[in-house]
Symmetry: C2
Subunit: 645 residues, 2 copies
């Protein structure tokens, strides 16, 4: 289904859409131009200017810095689609001119190699991110062409893609290789969709098929480079780059988490487009492993900062966690593709979990500060003074030297309308994955159908739909499939059509109603939002004897600002007596959960006594929890998602 | 008091003394000669042979590898003192010949510089450990001379010390500098004691006074070396090497834990010998900070493997812990010196805690396998697959590339007789710090007094003393001062003299009785050993809501071998019902503690379910705890000291 016909209108999400448009995108443009005070300079625009011959200087920033500009342009494209803005479009067009000026005659485009190592292109596929940056160019180009109808960036992208297609492949003289950081694979699928050019689809499949073949291209390349590497890591770590085995044989999610989910996203795309059963099985296997064994309750993935990586099943430490923002965004990309492969609610459940918690929480309310790492437990002194936890920042940062995350947030939020609905391949079923107020125009059963959704989520689970048909068209026979969220646990949700309770059947986690819909039909879908205490599988050592608070899709946390410290002293009482209060003032308005807690009696301890016989005396307190996505927006302090009980 | 008059005879400790003599020392000799299969070669002897011109080759092992041989010789000396062994002495003498052959004419002795960088001596005091290795030579030389009466090694040491004394100092042309790794400071005090040469004492004090002066010698040296370093750490980290401030101004224990406690040991020696009040205050301040804010219940120190370092107050993670064996041994050295500075039981309490738990636990029962890191919580899959926890080995290793710890254990255990008693400066009080069965001959009130101690610790707290006076000497008027251990918590211990209850006064944690002692007098000191649940200060986030089991000086732990896994699922029941059983078969015999536990009901969880609403159902179990020092002597598995309650 084409994106441009869905427009979000939602009391919760409109604010984010506007924040991205009014603040995030302009702020990130300043960042790309090195105009944010006290923040590490991006050097992204400057690199393009140098590569284009407009300025003299050295390359600055990370080797993959080009991708920040591309991701920003992609976000701009989505924003323009929703909200035309001639001034923003003019700035974007200028940036695109600059990108074009940095492109070589043969189509090559990468400012690092152009400035710093001309002639050494494609000699370090393991680390140098050339195809990764190309992929982000392709994604931006497709989005910009679809939003504005302008082909300039798409032409730049296709010229580069054509060069890559000539250089890489199984024919004599071609490189039988693939990028250390998956991204081109999923982007080539988009480029194929936008252009209809099958070469791009085949090239993506080639990269996927090559990955993990023995002997390893990376090992050979490393020998050719005289065993040198950019980051002095020694010989290539094939597992960290998901190239230890052919992708169809990989049993579990391993290695760098962002790389992993970008790879799996492309695999799911290709499984759908090619019907490759082995590839689909691999996607399903890796999905099950990731989401059922290696995912934080916030939808975060990546248990260690060393390699920004997965570790192994059930290893989910809350304090030394990584849970990179980009990895959670990648989970959402992947979940989206899994839904297109098969509409099963578990994919949408994970998509929603990552979106409302890890991803939303990564951005400050001001749209100008971001978390790269999204911890489930923060002790700010430890973040400052324990080197194992330096990566866990207790406050969001203005910008990062490695700033992959902020523009990724921007492009996800500004394209969120693409994540709400799917029409089945036969054109007869409309799946509603996310309950986000929106106006959609879709083709169903050969008709143009307008669906209006109103949702009170995440605070309340009353969701309403209205069906509109073009004037004069009497009826449309299609199936409406409404997700039954995993967080809804009390019996069957109530469905009413035109005010009357209606029955439905549940298939793959979707409540389905097939009928002849008429103009003006209304649907009421009631998903009462209840506050629940959630436990983790006992195999998760870090969460043993602890519970998290979840209300609808939102995970909650306790903060020092509300509950004092140390938060580790706080436990849930036997009778937690949880209550919910809407607080319109707090953090822009949210539902606060309060409960009965017990805290260790610190007053009975001398400061200089470290150990003594156990005394279980505890004080009763009323604690206060706020949605996780809002944490860290007040004075810095401790935070915890999991509470002892 | 002179060491040679105290001999351990104790059912618990005799085994360790013999293990060191029969197994640890011979095994480590094999290791130093690279004859342990499948273990990293030491290269220590080989380096000396190359430096002596007896063999060709490159230097091998760490830059401080010489110290392993010195520490082994020191252990040999202590062992010979207790148990003469001509064959062992012959091997040691040969090693000493070899050391002498590697010494330069001017006294210089360091195989790394002799082999690898001749002419570059003393250019990298920050990292190169030359004075550190010299210190271990001095310690070995003093011990060997005292044990055997042979001066050869002592002469080698003095020649080197004399060279160092000429090179370092405040006079023109001298280096105003000090070693990156404290050790020479404490060793020079020993050399002073053995030789009476005040220059050595003054040199030690010079190093102590120089440390932390601004501008930093290390920064200047780094510039002179063209900003290069051996371990590519960038510019010197002054805090990690305790050189950020003059030692008398340092407010808290920071940096590399072994370096720290070796430094503090020398500071305490010098405070006592010089009467320097500021230095003593610094010792007391650093002691309070270390033991009351930064010490594990096992007597381990060092909360992070990055820098093998202290982090900050109350930061004592159990899983990512470091707690290096050498650091705990250094704590014992330091505690010993603090006791000499002032006989206060808290020093002996810490000494005992570190000895019976962290240090004893570092060695396998076979005397051939060692822990470098001593964790309080082990999940063996995490040790294999989470890079944040790779340093935590679930099984003791045969030998280490950096093998500072095994010979340190050997020299501590073989000199343990030196840690039991002190005679006060006025010669009128005998302090009993440790309750270890032993025969002592000491000078008290001008008399030669023999004290026989019998102790049933750590299993039972019945301690007996017998006083013997030389024939014909009727009485000796002295004070007996028996430590009241911190683990004894039930009222006042019972003291009986010649079978009759006697009163005593308690001063600085010692029960003191002054009387005219007669030959044949007996003393009974009853310290009932009870099993206690211990809590940590609520500021220690890692231990919140958890308790440890302690029985007398022994900390206990639960192991997978007895309790299954995951151990995190196990919690103490409301009524723990702890019982004690002596098990003569288990792990060579120990007292086992059993108790009532509850475990999370794993059976109710599908393997592929990660989160679900909390269900507090738990199963009752009887759990089994063993002394921590015995952990890891069966099949590898999970282990935990702290239990949820």
């Amino acid at each position: 289904m084409h994106d441009s016909h869905i427009r979000i209108r939602d009391p919760f999400w409109d604010g984010y859409q506007e924040l991205v448009r009014r603040t995030v995108i302009p702020y990130q443009w300043e960042a790309l131009n090195d105009r944010i005070e006290d923040a590490e300079p991006s050097r992204s625009i400057r690199n393009f200017r140098i590569a284009a011959g407009l300025e003299q200087g050295e390359f600055g920033g990370w080797i993959f810095q080009d991708s920040d500009l591309y991701k920003w342009l992609e976000a701009v494209a989505y924003s323009l689609r929703r909200h035309p803005d001639p001034e923003l479009e003019r700035i974007a067009d200028e940036a695109i001119e600059l990108i074009g000026a940095a492109q070589h005659d043969n189509g090559y485009l990468n400012t690092y190699y152009t400035i710093q190592e001309p002639g050494r292109e494609w000699t370090n596929l393991y680390e140098a991110h050339e195809l990764y940056c190309a992929g982000h160019l392709f994604e931006a180009a497709v989005a910009y062409a679809e939003a504005t109808g302008k082909r300039k960036l798409l032409d730049i992208a296709c010229r580069f893609a054509d060069l890559i297609d000539r250089l890489f492949g199984a024919k004599p003289g071609q490189m039988q290789a693939y990028c250390g950081h998956p991204e081109a694979e999923l982007a080539l699928v988009k480029l194929y969709r936008a252009t209809g050019e099958e070469r791009y689809l085949n090239l993506s499949l080639f990269f996927i098929d090559e990955r993990g073949r023995q002997p390893s291209y990376y090992m050979e390349e490393w020998e050719r480079r005289g065993r040198t590497s950019i980051w002095a890591q020694g010989s290539p770590n094939l597992e960290v780059y998901q190239s230890h085995l052919p992708v169809r044989e990989q049993p579990a999610a391993v290695g760098h988490a962002v790389r992993a989910v970008y790879l799996y996203t492309a695999m799911a795309d290709l499984a759908r487009l090619t019907g490759d059963a082995k590839l689909r099985e691999a996607c399903e296997r890796l999905w099950a492993n990731t989401t059922r064994k290696q995912m934080y309750i916030t939808g975060g993935i990546g248990a260690t900062h060393l390699g920004e990586a997965f570790t192994f099943d059930y290893d989910l430490p809350n304090d030394t966690v990584y849970s990179e923002t980009c990895a959670s965004i990648g989970m959402i990309f992947w979940a989206r593709r899994m839904l297109q492969l098969e509409a099963k609610s578990e994919y949408a459940d994970v998509m929603e979990r990552a979106l409302y918690n890890n991803v939303l929480g990564s951005m400050a309310k001001d749209g100008k500060h971001f978390f790269y790492v999204n911890p489930l437990e923060v002790w700010q002194e430890a973040s400052a003074r324990n080197p194992d936890r330096l990566h866990v920042k207790p406050v969001r940062q203005k910008w990062f030297g490695c700033s992959c995350c902020p523009p990724n947030v921007a492009r996800l939020l500004s394209s969120l309308n693409d994540y709400i609905y799917d029409v089945s391949a036969d054109g007869r079923t409309l799946h509603v994955h996310l309950f986000i107020g929106s106006e959609a125009k879709v083709r169903l059963a050969g008709r143009s159908v307008a669906i209006s959704q109103r949702s009170a989520l995440p605070w309340d689970g009353r969701i309403e739909f209205a069906v509109s048909l073009p004037e004069g068209e009497g009826k449309a026979a299609f199936e409406l499939a409404l997700r039954v969220p995993a967080w809804f646990q009390s019996g069957a949700p109530e469905l009413a059509i035109n005010g009357e309770t209606a029955s439905y059947r549940v298939e793959n986690g979707y409540a389905k109603v097939e009928r002849d819909w008429q103009d003006g039909d209304t649907v009421l879908w009631l998903l009462p939002v209840e506050t629940k205490l959630i436990a983790a599988n006992p195999q998760v050592r870090a969460d043993a004897g602890r519970a998290a608070i979840q209300r609808g899709p939102l995970v909650y946390c306790v903060e020092e600002a509300d509950n004092g410290k140390p938060l580790a002293s706080l436990a849930l009482a036997e009778q937690p007596g949880l209550t919910e209060t809407a607080d319109a003032e707090l953090l822009g308005g949210c539902v606060v959960v309060e409960g009965n807690g017990r805290i260790l009696d610190s007053s009975a301890w001398a400061e200089d006594r470290l150990y003594r016989p156990l005394d279980k005396r505890q004080q009763s307190v009323r604690f206060k929890a706020i949605p996780y996505y809002l944490w860290g927006n007040r004075e810095p302090g401790e935070m915890s998602v999991w509470l002892r009980y």
